[in-house]
Amino acid sequence: MSQIPALIPTSLLLASLVALLVGLKSHRAAHLIALAGAVFAFVCSILGLQAVIQGDGEAIRYAMGAWVPPIGIEFVLDSLAAYMVTLITFIGVMVLIYAPRSLALETPGRQGMVYPSMTLVLAGLVGMCLTGDVFNLYVFLEIAALAAYALLAIGDRGAPVATLRYLLFGAVGGGFYLLGVAYLYFAAGTVNMADLSMRLPELMESRAVIVAAVLMVVGLGVKMALFPFHLWLPDVYTNAPSVSAGLIAPIMTKVSAYAIIRLFLDVFPPGFFTESLPIATTIGWVSAAGILFGSVLAVAQHDYRRMLAYSSVGQLGYIGLGIGLANPLGMIGGLLHILNHALMKGLLFMIGGAVRLRFGTTKIPEYVGVGRAMPWTMVAFTVGVLAMVGIPPTAGFFSKWYLLLGAADAGAWIWFAVIIASSLLSAIYFFRVVEMIYRDPETDSAVADHEPREAGEAPASMFWPITIMATAVMAVGIFNVLIVSALLERVVAPLGG
């Protein structure tokens, strides 16, 4: 049991390596190896999650090579890490099951490279969540980022340029973060999170620590695509293959948000992000701006993927608002939205890929008749839309519910209004698509003619992940209290009752 924190990233790294070698010969074998690695990591995550819950939130620690910290590298599985890695590996398994048919259409001949990159992204992301020191977090951050650049650049014609822009932003973000780590090391003499949390309370006045905090948060903010650092995101998601977008959009930016939350709650002393420095409030305000900006621009989009991308800019703002509120209810809302948005956005990107496979289009005005051709997929789509708008009892309602409770508790009425307004905007841009898919192509004169490539539902390898994700969106909503009381209430304990 105590090896679990190390098993999760190493199994994925190993799978990535083997898949790379095998992928040169056969992309099918590479797929199976990648999937096996992801499933193994997911099972380990579930076991770890169970152990953490049964241990009342007690962290499971593992020192790499038996070198104890602060000399060695430490992996720590606590409530927050268990929550994140379970989510990441779950999405990983779903997207890997979904991938082959979609990749065969969108990136023919290059699949052999995709599977190792996907597992490498997953390895980097779970590593970020599990690592016990701030420097290794940077290492895993860059592993995930480099693999992600590869995954995103193989998309449509605009993908390489869009990804280069992402790379530049990512390099700057990573650089800021690393610089912050360096300052922290100079000031406190350690990069281990547990040690830092012991030493930093005495150093709260230190200029170096203040600079370090600002640099690290700004760096992660760029990685998280926090407004106004979101500029790289829409082009990247629009041009990426559905599989890459389906993997990266749900979890990549969230893990940077996780890192900010980890620094806020567990590394820096209580009150450092709120009272000493106005970091949380600043994140809240830029997030509020991002919510409005992303939602308004999403309304203007005609490409399904671009609409989802701008919607992501807005939705990331919800997580930022949770950080900004800095009270237990708000933070629970933000954390829950990490999970909810991952499920919803993953679902919607996967559906976009399924429609592209059958109808050969990603333009919303050409979605007419999809509802008749792919009825069950579109039921799943409707569930995703209701969740994005925040209709109960879907998952999306409850993150907004906790955020609104948090905003009311903090008296943050402008943020309260922003959440309300953005719900309305997302209703406008999402129901537009719903209306389109349920139009009848035979009786509808306003529609340009186009024939589906193949009639019928998506193939089983795409259909079932979509169905499972849609079910999860409902289930997480209805049973959210289980997650909140078993995990999230423990996570937000440093914020006080």
């Binding site: 209701l386 708008v389 925040g390 209709i391 109960p392 009892p393 409850f398 907004k400 519910w401 906790y402 609104l404 409770l405 009311a408 508790d409 309260f416 309300i420 719900s423 309305l424 209703a427 406008i428 129901f431 209306e435 349920y438 139009r439 009848d440 009786t443 509808d444 306003a446 209805i478 049973f479 959210n480 209290v481 909140v484 009381s485 209430e489």
Partner: protein, 501 residues
């Protein structure tokens, strides 16, 4: 097993039509008789379950079901009380009649996508009964939002550009209302720490007038949209583009009454009449309702399209109920509660008639109805009964509810609202009765032969007509609607009226 079902009757009453919706969707158009039988079975079962709880509720029993926590400390919970069961009983009974009527209407008109239609209609009924039996605001919001969404496919049923445009308008209104409701609920949860409905209200004046007003404004938008309170009513007349059974059941009984019912829960069970009066919100609500009654009646006069005229009449009559609640006088509240039922019976009769005329003769406009009473005497007689009932003529249900509304206005010392009620009564007669006289006393070569619509439509019409009269002559017969109304007033205000004649 049987005990389990009996103990959880409130839940079963909600789920039975949701199950029917699934069965309807899976059965499909090719086996339409089987499909229709799911609807009938669910409607009968739902009514039977609700009806079986009436004696218990009148005896003071409250059937409760706690499902699961959906937010720490907040349960998804059901509780059957007089107000809930009054609404549930009328909606579920009228669903039976509407089902048969809809079979006749949809087949007679050769409508497309009938499976989708009946499935979503069943979902709407589930949500409506859920609203009736919600024990707290969060559960209420949940079902209210489901109802909003489930009505959308019915509004755009026609599939025309116009229908989609109206569907968009409907959604913007409904989603705005839903969000306003969520905001108000959050404010209450934050201030009071509880969301459970309590007869007589659970908010306290100590929460501060500013906050209470903010809550009131949120709920005014949230409920006012569905209840068609002006100036946020305009989706309602447009939504008449839906097939007539939808207009009849949802836009005269279930959906719009859900908004009105929300005001009942707001005034009677959340704020409480005393607090509503103390902060002055009741007066504001009454002014909006009174204005709506008059304006809607005037607009109805100008409409030549029969369904549009009925739609504005509905807007006006919904505000009768809102006004009755807002006056805070026990008698007015009694009238309001009873008007929920009588208006449902009378208005559904009128819509049924309008639909029968349209499907059978293709006529939609009032000016085309000369002499139609000679062709469809039963239909137009029923229309006449509904019309005089809405105008408040004795022996039809509308008289009794209006009587108590008027008595309540006098009690409350709000004579201006007594004037509103009287003027609108006259206006009601002015926009409805000419249709009847035109149908019977004018002649037209189009309508000479006796030729009624199919029995699937005429029998429900006759039954709702009988129900309207029964409510006027024996208001407490069979369904115990009047006793239930009295029980509502007794639990909210503590005032009892004693036995009714």
């Amino acid at each position: 097993m049987m005990d389990l079902l009996l103990d959880n009757r409130a839940l079963v009453a909600i789920l039975v039509s949701a199950l029917a919706a699934v069965a309807v969707a899976l059965t499909g158009e090719r086996r339409r008789n089987l499909r229709e039988s799911w609807t009938v079975l669910a409607a009968l079962a739902k009514f039977g379950i609700v009806f079986s709880m009436v004696p218990g509720v009148l005896a003071g029993e409250r059937y409760e079901v706690n499902l699961l926590q959906i937010s720490p400390g907040l349960e998804l919970a059901l509780k059957v009380d007089p107000a809930g069961i009054l609404f549930a009983l009328s909606a579920s009974f009228l669903w039976i009649l509407t089902s048969f009527y809809a079979f006749g209407y949809m087949r007679g008109g050769g409508e497309h996508k009938q499976t989708r239609f009946f499935a979503w209609l069943a979902v709407c009924l589930s949500a409506t009964i859920g609203i009736c039996f919600s024990a707290n605001l969060l559960t209420f919001v949940l079902f209210y939002e489901i109802l909003s969404v489930a009505t959308y496919p019915l509004v755009i049923h026609a599939g025309s550009e116009k229908a989609y445009r109206i569907g968009r308008q409907y959604l913007v209104y409904a989603i705005t209302a839903g969000i306003a409701l969520v905001a108000g609920t959050v404010l209450i949860q934050n201030a009071a720490g509880t969301l459970d409905f309590v007869a007589g209200g659970f908010l306290e004046a100590e929460m501060g007038t500013g906050l209470l007003w903010a809550v009131f404004v949120c709920f005014f938008i949230g409920f006012g949209v569905k209840a068609g309170v002006m100036p946020i009513h305009s989706w309602l007349p447009n939504a008449m583009i839906a097939p007539t059974p939808v207009s009849a059941l949802l836009h005269a009984v279930a959906v719009v009454k859900a908004g009105v019912f929300g005001f009942v829960r707001l005034v009677g069970y959340t704020f409480g009449p005393d607090l509503m009066g103390a902060i002055g919100a009741a007066a504001v609500l009454a002014v909006f309702a009174g204005g709506t009654i008059l304006l809607a009646s005037f607009i109805a006069l100008t409409k030549d399209d029969l369904k549009a005229r009925l739609a504005y009449s509905t807007v006006g009559h919904l505000s009768y109920i809102v006004l009755g609640v807002a006056l805070l006088a026990p008698q007015a509240m009694l009238g309001a509660a009873f008007h929920m039922v009588t208006h449902a019976a009378m208005k559904i009769t009128l819509f049924f008639c309008a639909g029968a005329i349209y499907i059978h003769t293709g006529k939609k406009k009032v000016s085309q109805l000369d002499g139609i009473g000679h062709q469809m005497p039963l239909t137009l007689t029923a229309f006449g009964v509904g019309a005089v009932g809405l105008a408040g003529v004795p022996l039809v249900g509308g008289f009794i509810s209006k009587w108590y509304l008027a008595a309540g206005a006098i009690d409350a010392g709000a004579l201006i609202f007594l004037g509103v009620l009287l003027v609108s009564g006259i206006l009601n007669a002015a926009y409805l009765l000419p249709i009847v006289t035109r149908a019977f006393f004018r002649r037209s070569p189009d309508h000479v032969k006796l030729d009624e619509a199919s029995a699937l439509m005429t029998v429900p019409i006759a039954l709702t007509m009988v129900l309207s009269i029964m409510l006027g002559v024996f208001p407490d017969a069979i369904f115990r609607f009047f006793s239930l109304s009295e029980a509502i007033v007794a639990s909210v205000t503590g005032v009892t009226f004693g036995a009714m004649p």
